[in-house]
Structures are given as C-alpha cells and as structure tokens.
C-alpha cells in the first residue's frame, strides 16, 4: 500500500505545532468568511495569500492555511443560508431552500448540526477520493506531451463556460481577456517585450495576485457601495434550538449523504464546474429521487439540507484533483490556490507528486485534520459564528478593502501595483454588471503563459508543423471532449443554468 505509506508520511509533516495552529486559524477564518454574505471562498483565500507570503511560510504551511480556509468557507456558507435565508457563498445557495424553512419551524439548531455532519461526510470521503483518484490521473498525465497539454488547457477553458455563465460568448470573451492579460510582459522564449507600451513596471508582467484580489475582493466593495447595502440584511435572529439532530434524522439522511457525496465529488473533478454545480445537482437529484410529488422538499425537509451540503463539500475536495494532478483547476477557488503554488515556484501537475511529495501528502493529511477541526468547530461553536453574522457590511467592507491594499502592498511595496489592483476592481465591477464570469479571466491570467509555452514547444519540436496539435489519439480525444463541452451547453445547458442562476443573481466574487 504505497498510497497509505505516503499518507502516513503526510501526517508526519502536517502534525507539527505550527501546521496544526495554521490549520486551526484557517478553519476559523474560513468559516467566518463563508458565513459572511459578500465574502466567499475565492475572495477569502485571495485576501489571505499576501499574508501567507509575508509571514514567510513555506509551501506546505501556506497551502495548509489556505486550503483550511477553503474547506472552512464551504462549511461556513450554510450558516447564513439557514439562519438568514441569504447564501453566505454561492455553493450554499441550494441550502437556503430547505435550511431556512427548517429554521422557521424552530429547528435551526438541528438544521445547522445536520448540515455540519453532512459537510463532514462529503468532505471526508471526497478527500479519500482525492487520495485514490489523483495518482491515477497522474499516471495518465505522464503520457501528455506539450500538444496534449495545450489541448488540456483549451479543454479547461471551453468546458468552464458551460457551467459558469449563462452566455458562452461571454465566457469565451472572459477567457480570451485573461489570456491576453497574461501576454503582457517580456516574452519568456525570445526576450522581446510585449504589450508593455514602454512602461517598465509591466516588463515583469501583471502579477496575478494583484488581478485576483482586485477582481474578487475590490469589486465586491464597489457592488456594496453602488447598492448602499450598508445594513446587515439580518433583522431578527432566529432561535437556534437544540443542537443535536435526533438519531432517526441521521439515519434517514444517511443514504442521501452517500449519494450526494459521490455526485458532488464527480462534479468537482470536472474542470470548471466546482462546488456550486455539486450542490445543485445533488439537490435536484435527491428531490427527484425521494420526493417525486414535491411534497416535502422546499418546506424544510432534512434531506434537502443534507444533500446540497454533502454535495458542495465533496465537490470542494473533488476540485483539488485536477488542480494537483494536472495543474488545471476545477473551480474558481482552486484557481486561486493554483496561483499560490505558482507564486511559490511550485509547478502543479504530474511532476508535483514525484518532486514535491511532501507538499502533496502534507496537504492531504492537513485536509483530514482540518475536516475534524471543522466538525468540532461547527457543531458546538456554531453560536459564535452566528454572532459574527451581525457585523454589518458598512464596517466589514472597508476592512475587506483595506486588508486587500495591505496585502498587495506587503508583497511588492509599490503604489503601481495598488493602482493596477484598483483598475482590476473597477473592471471586475463592470464585468459583473454585464454578467461576464470572472473565473475564466483569472484562469486565463494564470495559465496563459504555460499554455503558450506548450503550444510553442509542441510546434517547435515538430519543426513548425501546426498539425502536430492533433497528431495523437490522446490530443484528438481531448479536443473532441473540449468541443462537446463547449457546444453541449449551447443546446441543453440553457435550461439547467437558468435554473441554477434563478436564485443567484449576486454571485460573482462569492462564487467558489
């Protein structure tokens, strides 16, 4: 059992005092960020990246901190869904449907603890899935040459649009915009400056961390300013009631959790889909399966709370699989985590498992530890987090803005980067108004250079023959899959997406 031995090594790495403390801090901050409407996993992780760098943390500790925030935010989103009927982040959207009715019936405590357990089940088994699936994917990925990698990147961009937006043209636009931004700077292969317009600050290229924090965190501040959402939408806090679900409820929801975990994990592994899709399809399938006449779902059925929570937490684990094994993230937040790896000079992908096994297995072990911490934090201590929800955005949002500035200034110490970040904030605000998804932009700026390098490497190896791109069965397969992934949503996806977006007119930076 190679895998289990590696996992044991991972635990040896993760179980140091520093790492345990970081995981604890990450879980705590993550749960708060998930619970607060307006802060979601992706911008929560984004504003903490600079902190991880300036603390001088190594690769494994930074990843442990940030993935704990990621998992924590997935747990935390449900709290405001259940208590306030406002999703704390996008994946928790479906939890509102049955969670809030349960709270109204005076079963808020049971809904919270049940969803906490469902989250735990989803995340726990998804982490096992990650352990067994990622190494298999690595074996396939080792067969990839530059041409296949180019096709894989194209696949990621083309399938991303299918789920992240209602308009394929807009997600294609977003991806191209991101790739275009990545081109700014000195060309790595020939050394000529591109799109710099003589500005010396741009020779190094745009720092993707600046882009991420601007697009995700600052644009959120602008949205709040525009609507003057200064007051917390919370009016009267709901009574929480008893905090333990009865055994019969757990027994009833067990099969639901099992099904949703599997579905959510698969949805997470697909490139570009992420946790929102995971919770959406888990909920819809469960509804179709156990409540054919639509009698109980939507009126506070515990199964309707367990399904989306198990689904979105399983998807969060699933989305780490392509990020670690292929270097192609499966969701917005994993794209941000990819940025962390790149900034730490670690190239994700198949070689990560052989060159930096300590990072991979330390991270996976930390996920298990974080999961148990989150379970412990989220059931007895849930009252603490509900109090955090009372902080009104008019105090919270300036703090978010200022922490963003502090973080970016802390990395580079240059006012120019702050100006670029403001520019990205404004751009993000405008694009969100126009319903252009932001995740493809981030993915484009992150992957642009390696996508181009793979293209040029592939063609140079073949002496300038462009047909080499569709030369092997593997790359033909990838292109075929990419094309289907792009065209299929045009035909059938519209219905699913409009259903998914019905409730989520505010997503964007709070998406996963």
């Amino acid at each position: 059992m190679d895998t289990l031995a590696s996992l044991a090594d991972g635990f040896a790495i993760a179980l140091t005092w520093q790492n345990i403390l970081l995981a604890l801090l990450g879980c705590f901050l993550g749960t708060i960020m998930g619970a607060l409407p307006g802060l979601g996993p992706s911008n929560g992780v984004a504003i903490l990246i600079p902190l991880a760098f300036t603390l001088g943390l190594g690769a494994t500790p930074s990843l442990i901190l940030l993935t704990s925030v990621y998992y924590g935010a997935m747990y935390g989103g449900r709290i405001s869904s259940i208590l306030l009927n406002i999703p704390g982040d996008e994946p928790a959207m479906m939890t509102c449907l049955d969670g809030h009715p349960m709270a109204k019936k005076g079963m808020a405590g049971q809904a919270l603890s049940l969803s906490g357990i469902a989250s735990f089940v989803g995340a726990f088994f998804a982490t096992w899935g990650l352990i067994f699936l990622a190494p298999q994917l690595v074996k396939i990925a080792l067969l990839f040459g530059p041409a296949e990698y180019f096709a894989l990147f194209a696949l990621a961009f083309m399938t991303l649009g299918g789920v992240s937006s209602t308009n394929q043209a807009k997600s294609a636009f977003a991806a191209a915009l991101g790739l275009g931004l990545a081109m700014i700077g000195v060309d790595t292969q020939t050394g000529v400056p591109r799109f710099t317009f003589g500005e010396v600050h741009l020779y190094d290229g745009l720092d993707f961390l600046v882009a991420i924090v601007g697009l995700f965190a600052l644009s959120e501040v602008f949205i709040f300013l525009e609507r003057r959402h200064g007051e917390a939408d919370a009016s009267a806090p709901v009574k929480i009631g008893r905090l333990t679900p009865p055994m019969s409820m757990l027994k009833d929801t067990a099969p639901t959790m099992a099904r949703s975990t599997v579905l959510g994990f698969l949805a997470g592994v697909l490139p570009g889909a992420g946790a929102s899709l995971g919770s959406f399809i888990s909920y819809s399938l469960e509804k179709r399966l156990v409540d054919k006449d639509g009698k109980t779902f939507g009126k506070g059925d515990p199964r309707g709370v367990a399904a989306p929570e198990a689904g979105n937490n399983a998807a969060a684990g699933g989305a780490l699989v392509p990020m670690l094994a292929l270097g192609v993230p499966g969701s917005g937040t994993t794209a941000v985590l990819l940025a962390v790896l790149l900034a730490l000079n670690i190239t994700p992908g198949p070689l990560l498992f052989t060159q930096n096994p300590d990072v991979v297995w330390g991270l996976i072990a930390a996920l298990f530890i974080a999961n148990f911490m989150l379970l412990a934090m989220n059931i007895p201590m849930v009252g603490l987090f509900t109090r955090v929800l009372m902080v009104p955005p008019r105090i919270l949002m300036p703090v978010v803005a200022m922490v963003s500035f502090v973080g970016i200034y802390g990395i580079s110490g240059s006012s120019f980067d702050l100006l670029v970040m403001i520019g990205f904030g404004v751009m993000g605000w405008g694009l969100r108004k126009l319903d252009v998804p932001l995740v493809p932009i981030i993915l484009g700026t992150l992957l642009g250079n390696s996508m181009e390098n793979n293209l040029r490497r592939a063609i140079t190896i073949d002496n300038g023959d462009w047909w080499t791109l569709i030369d092997s069965p593997l790359s033909i397969g990838l292109w075929l899959f990419a094309t289907i992934g792009f065209i299929l949503p045009l035909i059938v996806g519209r219905k699913v997406k409009s259903k998914m977006h019905e409730r989520g007119d505010e997503e964007g930076s709070i998406s996963d």
């Binding site: 591109r194 525009e226 008019r394 300036p398 803005a401 200022m402 100006l419 403001i422 108004k433 300038g464």
Partner: protein, 143 residues
Amino acid sequence: MSDRIFGVVGLLIAIGFALAAFAIEESFLSDAVGPKAFPLIIATVLGLSSIVIALKPDPEPEWPALPRLAEVLAAVVVMILYAELLPEIGFVIATAFAATYLTWRLGSGLIASVVTGIGTSLGIYVIFHLVLGLSLARGPLGF
C-alpha cells in the same frame, strides 16, 4: 443596448490587441512560432466572441442611477489617492482616512465612521504589523 456597446468595445480591444501584436519586434533568434502567433489567436477569439455578444445581446443589466455611479467613481478616486499617498503619509493615517470615507459612504453616521475608520486602521496595524510582522508603508512619523 449595453451588450451591444460592450461587444463593440470588445471588438475594438481585440483589434487594438492584434495591432499591438503585429507591432511586437521579432528578435533575430526566434522559435518556429514566434512571439506573435499566440496573441493573434487570442485576438481572434476575443474579436469573435465580441461580435457574438454584440449580435445576440442578453437582457439589459440594471445600471445604477447617476448618483450611485458617482458614488462608485468617488470611491475609486479616494482609493487612487490612497494608493498614491500611502508612501507619503504613512499607513495608519492614510488608512484611517480611507476607511472612514468608505464606512461613511456605506451609511454610517459621521462620528461612528471616524471611530470605525480609526479602529480599522489601528486594528490592522496591530494585527498585521505588530503581531504578524508585515512591513507596512512608513510615513514621516514612522507609522
């Protein structure tokens, strides 16, 4: 209408991007593809998707009324000033002003805003600088 304008602007960006790509000076030592090809592919995708957006617009988004738009603009100006003045007057003072402004515009009373602004600034200074050791901008007063 917004989407049509957006599409046209996108198309102009794509054309500008393509022109800038053509203007890239080739080095005498280049690989088979060169530094222009991939940017040109991107420009094509950008242009095509812009055309589609312009031809098939989505329903009109809800644009804020003029006063709210001015609000966002004013916040941008304050942030730019903040970015420029940060190294000049130091972190604590600049942040206190910026946070006060944002809190005030989000609907707090004037005195409450000043208190929150100073609190935010000092809080961040203590946590990030004194506890975590992050280097923040130093003004003439040393903080």
